[in-house]
């Protein structure tokens, strides 16, 4: 299992940003096989109606369909999503988005499976979506890839 943990806060600002890779969440030279994705993210938004747009992007699109799910727990609401894992990621930002709760601390649980058809690199992409304002991913946020199986 390769666990990646964010050691410092990362803040992004803007309106409807396209997700970009986070250098704290990158895995290189993963051997072919199936991987279990697990993660917990703590995210804070400075304004209401702000979303986190995120997904996992491998260097090669899996030959066997692979998916990632996210469930966001905020004090005011919960939300969830599931998306196929592809390269490139879906071109529409909203297709990779999950809704955060109005300016509150939000914990996001990630689960997924990824079939690596060959040796690949994997990155976690995220951006700020929705209203203008800042979004911060807190230190301690963690994503792990376990495998290959």
């Amino acid at each position: 299992m390769i666990i990646k943990t964010k050691l410092t806060d990362t803040q992004k600002s803007g309106f409807n940003q396209t997700p970009v890779e986070d250098t704290d969440f990158q895995w290189t030279n993963l051997e072919s096989g199936m991987y279990i994705i697990d993660g917990a993210l703590l995210v804070v938004s400075s304004v209401a109606s702000k979303s986190l747009a995120c997904t996992i992007v491998p260097s090669v699109t899996p030959a066997i369909p692979s998916f990632i799910s996210a469930h966001a727990y905020a004090s005011s609401s919960t939300s969830s999503m599931l998306r196929p894992i592809t390269n490139p990621m879906a071109s529409t930002v909203s297709q990779n988005s999950m809704l955060l709760g109005n300016g509150t601390n939000t914990v996001i649980k990630l689960s997924g499976i990824l079939f690596a058809p060959e040796t690949i690199d994997v990155s976690f992409y995220w951006g700020a979506y929705g209203a203008s304002g800042a979004i911060t991913m807190r230190a301690g946020s963690t994503i792990s890839l376990e495998g290959p199986f």
Binding site: M34, I36, I64, P65, S66, F67, S69, A70, H71, T78, S79, S80, M81, L82, R83, P84, S94, Q95, S97, M98, L99, K109, S111, G112, I113, F115, F149
Partner: protein, 154 residues
Amino acid sequence: MTDILKIKTENTSRNLTTTVVDDTELLFEDLEPGVYALTGYILATCTAANINLKAGLRLPEGNAAAARLMCSRTNSATFSGTNDYLNNAITDEAITKSFTIAANATIGLMIKGVVHIVSPGTLSFQWAQNSSSATAVTVRQGSWLRLRNNVEAG
């Protein structure tokens, strides 16, 4: 510490049945009494709407209400929404819970729970169609369940 991981190695499709049966790749045989942490991620799909997945976890006989489970349904058909399902107890009785699948969508069931096995036996993931149809419901390759245990039953 016990760590048992079960992974589906191929897709399994079922049609014309609403009777849940074991997924033969997602079962834990000869479980000893103890307290287990249960996690998992189940992917299911269907090409048509209104058929849906009927599924759940079934404990060995004699373990009624001996577990607690939280299961969140995530859905590729919608951006977000109230797609959550919380199940307070799993038992050794018949499974009736339905999970909606939109046409051509995939759902992911994110599972966390605690299983307290008193009577030894088999813990299984059981599933079928919720409405019988010639169009199959498929549980995808890569779906997995895991039991971990380092505590004796009290």
